[in-house]
């Protein structure tokens, strides 16, 4: 199927028949998944279901043994490396919050702003007032204006998670992959994070991997349940949580 403008699919993210095995262990098994532009998708599933490996494939860290991975209908992600994929407009938040701890919140965002990533550009770059505006906008979204000049390492766990999401936003990506954003957060923080992601979803496509079912319910979006590297069930949170296989392998335990 080829669409008029040369796109092979209208989906923002398209995975079809993807296989990955590590030393004989089938981490991803005939995985097919489609995320539409502007959609927010929640991915759930037990440990070892292949959620993080799927993220690794999309972001170029892991090469699939076979299968198609298309971004924005035309770009084959399996041929690109991390830096190229990031430049295309895919941002990734890690499971463990990963920020540049010895640098200020502001510098963390400055490093993330979408611009030339080359060595020469970085060597000769000057700060300009426009940067401050862009950083201000992100800080407002992630609600961290008050800690702008603090070292990222001094932030609370929840604040680090938000800062990392802010770093993704500063990259101005089309697609955000967010791995367990509320792990270790308090209930209030979890609620705020759900609000934040919904806000981000207004103009960006988001894929969230999360274990916290309250949080997934709060997002109120289509849910995909993975198991043993393949899609077990897909649909609304109610449909998925009533699925017998899902209860058996994931929720029921």
């Amino acid at each position: 199927m080829t669409m008029p403008d040369g796109r092979k699919t209208s989906a923002m993210l398209y995975l079809d028949g993807v296989h990955v095995s590590f030393d004989g262990f089938h981490a991803i098994n005939n995985l097919s998944l489609t995320v539409a532009p502007g959609e927010m998708r929640a991915i759930i599933g037990p440990n070892g279901a292949g959620k993080t490996t799927m993220m690794d494939i999309i972001t170029g860290k892991t090469r699939p043994d076979q299968g198609d991975v298309l971004f924005d209908g035309r770009t084959d992600l399996t041929k690109l490396d991390e830096a190229e994929i990031a430049e295309l407009g895919i941002g990734r938040k890690f499971q463990k919050p990963t920020v540049f701890e010895s640098q200020s919140v502001e510098d963390n965002l400055l490093l993330s702003l979408r611009e030339d990533r080359g060595v020469r550009a970085a060597l000769f770059r000057q700060r300009n007032p426009d940067d401050t505006d862009r950083i201000d906008r992100v800080l407002e979204t992630i609600r961290l204006q008050g800690v702008r000049h603090q070292l990222a390492g001094s932030l609370s766990h929840g604040q680090k998670q938000w800062l990392e999401i802010g770093m993704l936003l500063a990259q101005d990506p089309k697609l955000l992959l967010v791995d367990e954003p509320v792990a270790g957060m308090t209930d209030v923080e979890t609620h705020q994070t759900a609000e934040l992601l919904k806000e981000i979803n207004r103009d960006k496509t988001v894929v969230v991997v999360e274990h916290d079912m309250t949080f997934v319910r709060e997002l109120g979006v289509k849910v995909t349940c993975l198991h043993e590297g393949t899609v077990l069930a897909e649909g609304s949170i109610d449909q998925v949580s009533e699925n017998e296989r899902v209860i058996e392998v994931y929720l029921g335990r």
């Binding site: 830096a83 990734r92 540049f100 701890e101 640098q103 510098d107 990533r117 060597l123 070292l151 990259q171």
Partner: protein
């Protein structure tokens, strides 16, 4: 480590550091040349050269701190770049000997005549010209670092694996330069130098000028490193050090950044080696010894990595201690002492002399702010850098 927290104060420290280097660069030669031998203020020539050696080590330490302190690349083979710069200068100095050698051959250095070589090997051509040798001082280490780094960083060799292969690199060069047929004087290396740019290398005036030149090179290297770490590129380097994969997923090509800074660092190390050779009067394969590179890393750890000034300070302090110890009855125990120093610094002062001082000073001072500059900074820098100047 919080180098950027200290940025505000470091700018002040940087000025003081440069002032000390400049003062030393003028004062020591002046006291050597302008005071009579009997005067209490007279600095003997051997001391000028000894301090010149320390200054070269300080430049080497800066180059290591640039990659280790800021980008987390622990090279245990940086002595190789230092030695290559040294050999390039040594080749120039050999060609200047001319007919004054033992065998009085106008072109071939003595060791080649001794080996019965009839003509100059191709790679010795051009070294009779200072500008060419000076270019090679930077280019040869830079090129080696570029090729080595290109292969290593592209394959994502990091951490201890990288350290081990840099050790292997310097060891391989050590073995190669030991061979007579390699064409660099075998285990004797290059020595018996006569002239540099037409001046006698043994003369007091030349020694003083070489010391001053080393101080200029130290100041220039410091300014280059400072400019790099203060730029956005410097922030990317720290980002790579602290969270390499995060940096990669932000779209930075980590290997390019590492390659740039590693190559720059090797070039600086080469300059240090080139200034070192005429002051000590010899370059031989032992400069490639893996232990030398490890020792240089210890200077940086002792001084405080990720501070630049601390690295230079560490090099001077540790080498001054080495001179004192190895010339006294404790000489056989120097290596034990050095090892103990490294262990103690790692355990008790992980931030090194400078970092520990800053932390202690920060605690003592009520409510320090990142932007404010402690006014006593002057006192501190002068105190620590004393051995550098006055001894």
């Amino acid at each position: 480590m919080k180098p950027f927290l200290l940025t505000g104060t470091l700018n002040r420290s940087a000025t003081i550091f440069l002032a000390i280097v400049a003062t030393a660069g003028v004062l020591l030669p002046a006291l050597n040349l302008l005071t009579p031998d009997a005067s209490a203020l007279h600095v003997p020539t051997y001391l000028v050269s000894l301090f010149g050696k320390y200054v070269c080590y300080a430049i080497l330490a800066l180059s290591i701190d640039l990659i280790w302190g800021y980008c987390g690349i622990l090279s245990l083979g940086h002595g190789a770049f230092f030695a290559l710069g040294g050999y390039a200068m040594g080749m120039y100095l050999m060609r200047q000997i001319g007919t004054r050698g033992v065998y009085a051959d106008p072109v071939l250095p003595d060791f080649m005549v001794f080996l019965n070589w009839k003509s100059l090997p191709w790679y010795w051509h051009g070294f009779d010209m200072f500008w060419f040798a000076a270019l090679m001082v930077v280019l040869v280490p830079g090129l080696l670092a570029f090729c080595f780094g290109w292969l290593a960083f592209r394959s994502r060799v990091t951490g201890v694996y990288f350290s081990i292969i840099t050790q292997a690199m310097t060891y391989a060069l050590l073995l190669a330069f030991f061979r007579n047929d390699f064409g660099f004087g075998g285990n004797n290396g290059l020595t018996d130098f006569k002239d540099i740019l037409g001046f006698n290398v043994q003369a007091d005036g030349t020694r003083a000028a070489l010391f001053a030149a080393s101080c200029v090179a130290l100041a220039a290297s410091f300014l280059i490193c400072r400019a790099v770490v203060d730029s956005k590129l410097g922030k990317v380097l720290v980002a790579i050090r602290d969270a390499e994969s995060r940096t990669r997923f932000l779209g930075y090509r980590v290997e390019s950044y590492k390659l740039f800074v590693f190559t720059l660092s090797a070039c600086i190390a080469g300059v240090a080696g080139a200034l070192y050779v005429p002051q000590v009067g010899i370059i031989n394969p032992s400069e490639f010894a893996p232990a030398n590179s490890i020792e240089a890393v210890i200077w940086v750890a002792v001084g405080g990595r990720g501070t630049l000034i601390g690295a230079a300070l560490g090099a001077v302090v540790v080498n001054y201690a080495k001179t004192v110890f190895t010339s006294g009855p404790l000489a056989p125990y120097w290596l034990f002492l050095l090892g103990a120093l490294f262990v103690l610094v790692t355990l008790l002062m992980p931030k090194g002399l400078l970092g520990t001082w800053h932390a202690w000073y920060g605690r003592r001072k009520p409510a320090p702010t990142a932007g404010a500059t402690p006014s006593d900074e002057t006192e501190f820098a002068g105190e620590i850098a004393k051995p550098h100047m006055a001894e």
